[in-house]
Symmetry: C3
Subunit: 345 residues, 3 copies
């Protein structure tokens, strides 16, 4: 698509910086308000095909297709007007071709047309982040391989912040203390005739079975951070009363409806950061193939469950994460006036 | 979660009132614009497990788990800044533990962590309504019991009105003549090997079968007011041309897309009352695990069908209610210029 | 519903014009800003029941129920305040009764109650377009025939433009160079015991089988313009860099989440034209039973894929269209810095 007679890009005025990506649910070091002029943000990602346990209780597993080994891929953060310069590598140990389609970018199928790399190949793609918001990225090799790679974990999110940071509808600045990055992954794991999950020897061996399962549109699992319970227990998010958390939710394929049990979405950006955030939501919406952001300031201590509020998906298919919040209880907000006790019926 | 060393709540400045709850699709007596200062609104709900016929035509039935015996539970109405003080009772005749999670509240899993009551127990929970909007409440005993109770009817809605009432995007007051409260319930009723709906002797006996049916994510029914046809015929909502009806739609689990056949959503609050309403919608959206409000002023007489506009769900799975409107037809809005007649082909 | 004692409509002040409907994905000739006063826009549609190939690769076919022979039915365009005067004809060759429900209209089930025509019948309905936006229309003969006709192709869209045209949130005019009208159709095609698609001798013969397939809520296909690949290859939409395309998406039954691979929704009207458009969306939402509009100005040449971004539906069930854009590549927006090459692992 990129004609060879196209004018070279003028990169004067850009400063080069490297962004060190970190595994989810964490966010890379970044500024909320950009200092200095526009940047070329250099990042590197390597595709990795790896066998992952999806549910320890029943041995469900998947040959995950990943960026940097995690499901979802790492969160990238830049500011509007910056350029992203990605080096993408596919190691020789891979079985498959991969590429990357950035929803935040413009042209060439989101870069997918310029980044097809076979095992042992690398490429470099640079694109300008012209629209502020949270956006999905994902592998899109072509044909049925597109949903196959996406439903095997090969997707993540980039956040393109406005240069002057997030704002409410009246233009007042909104700042957060931390980011919790939730990638929700729908898996369609094949079962054998006894209803047990099948196992496979190598990435891609499940292709025909998986396509058949996918065609029914009903996932066997929908999980955060790649596996049932990955973000509960030791994996739970931590916060304190008074802290503001920006919850970023990526779902590259299937609609979701996040809800923070015991809390709210004080500010929710379902569309982009160009639009004013929705407010005071009980449950927000992720159009399948989107990343969204929701901001909440904790007011009570305790365990909060961040769920896909189709509660069958949240509880039975695995879409539950925990946020453990420390601090002082506020009886003015909620009080157990009478603890459970027997009564005369 | 409620630490014993937390400061007692300061309740001075609140007036205590009792709200008498009524069965759906009706709304309790309430003010649209609050008079006086903040209130502590005392309500009482009793859990009830009861065998309900879902579809008279084929004998489909469910051991419904309910608040106050109805599916959905009763509509509660307060104003922003009020406190809700709920006495919740579980009679000794029950088989199961219940509790309540208010999406409108803050902390302790929406109160779920403070209200676990076994048969023969009661408790009292008080919480402050800090966010205006319509919000789901539901039972959430823990684990798979959460979707099990919710998909057996144990959910309802609270409306938290702004103290000065509803407004359009320019701040002009919006008032309604009546409320129609639609609780849409997705059921996943187990069938036997002949495809007939199974029957069970007591609440909870369908647990294993229901979990298996639920896991497929496709409901056998999606109905208003607990049963197919409950809000048609004698159960239909009544209105008059010129009247404004506030339609509140609660769906505690599954996305829905309400549509009023022959009418519109003039003002629709999908997120909260903090946000300006969307306008002139043909079909609006209920993020699964949400309650929303839509306002319409009827301009023509006749029968209107309020449906989930996945028309398979609306017609075949049961999500249809009727609104019967009296008044004078307006040919300027619509006219049958030529009634059906034969023509020469 | 239309009482015979109702006052006659006052049609003075309206000018009569005829609108020639054209097949999708094209739009009829129209003004973006209305000149002159309100019009009575006369249109004619004929129902047609025809055997259509859905997927050439495997012979899947459907006895489609259509308006004017196409799936979706033709796009109608008027301005707010205009009247639509439809002559609807059902030829004697038909097997079935049809009618039409316009979501944009008011009363009589959207006109459905006044337009029931049997084979060999015609009728004329006039109604006023009082709300600006894109709206679904569809057949709704009653009972299970409603979802049956709608999922057999009998639906389309009308766009009701504001008299002074589209605007951004600040009131600045938004104009387009062309319209691409995407009707997404979910089919539930019955299969035999070998998993092959069944064939039928006449429209309606698939009724019982189709109802059974529909009840499961999972379509076998979801396609644009009636068939897999209808809007790719020779059927692809054409545009040029710098041109603005208004993409209208109609889905009369099932939620969808359109995404333009490589592009965006610069302005998206999910609700109505009364509301300011959402901006800079990666993926937008069609509440099942809605038509929406999204505007994009192309900045790069190449092939764009317009998809339902549930990628299983987009790729495997057929919901992909192509937009082929000519012009000059812009390296400042995206550049392949290093083409795929081998690297030393
Ligand atoms: Cu890949
Ligand atoms: Cu994509
Ligand atoms: Cu319960
Ligand atoms: Cu909940
Ligand atoms: Cu029809
Ligand atoms: Cu409709
Ligand atoms: Mg911008
Ligand atoms: Mg864990
Ligand atoms: Mg986004
Ligand atoms: Mg507030
Ligand atoms: Mg009835
Ligand atoms: Mg709500
Ligand atoms: Mg208007
Ligand atoms: Mg083609
Ligand atoms: Mg619309």
């Amino acid at each position: 698509e990129a004609a060879t007679d196209a004018k070279p890009a003028d990169l004067s005025g850009y400063t080069r910086v490297k962004q060190k990506l970190v595994p989810p649910p964490f966010a890379p070091a970044h500024e909320q308000v950009a200092t200095g002029g526009p940047k070329i943000v250099e990042i590197t990602m390597e595709t990795e095909e790896r066998l992952m346990v999806v549910d320890e209780d029943n041995g469900a597993s998947v040959w995950a297709l990943t960026y940097n080994g995690s499901v979802p891929g790492p969160l990238i953060i830049v500011h509007e007007g910056d350029m992203v310069e990605l080096t993408l590598r596919n190691p020789t140990s891979s079985m498959m071709e991969h590429n990357i389609d950035f929803h935040a970018s413009t042209g060439a199928l989101g870069g997918g047309g310029l980044t097809h790399i076979y095992p042992g190949e690398e490429c470099v793609l640079r694109w300008k982040a012209t629209k502020p918001g949270c956006f999905t990225y994902h592998c899109a090799p072509g044909g049925d391989m597109i949903p196959y790679h996406v439903t095997h974990g090969m997707n993540g999110a980039i956040m393109v912040l406005p240069r002057d940071g997030l704002k409410d509808k009246d233009g007042n600045p909104l700042r957060y203390d931390s980011i919790a990055y939730f990638g929700e992954q729908d898996y369609y794991l094949p079962k054998d005739e006894n209803g047990d999950y099948r196992t496979y020897e190598a990435a891609g061996d499940d292709y025909a079975d998986s396509l058949e399962a996918m065609r029914g549109l009903i996932p066997t699992h929908s999980v955060f951070n790649g596996a049932v319970g990955a973000l509960t227990g030791e994996g739970a998010i931590k916060a304190k009363v008074g802290e503001t958390v920006l919850m970023i939710h990526n779902q590259a394929n299937r609609d979701s409806r996040p809800h923070l049990i015991g809390g709210h979405g004080n500010y929710v950006w379902e569309s982009s950061f160009t639009d004013a955030p929705l407010q005071d939501m009980e449950t927000w919406f992720v159009r399948g193939g989107s990343a969204v952001a929701a901001m909440y300031t904790f007011e009570q201590p305790g365990v909060y469950a961040y769920v896909n509020h189709n509660l069958i998906e949240g509880v039975m298919l695995g879409a539950t994460a925990h946020v453990v919040v420390e601090g002082q209880w506020d009886n003015a907000l909620m009080e157990q006036v009478v603890a459970p006790r027997s009564f005369e019926a």
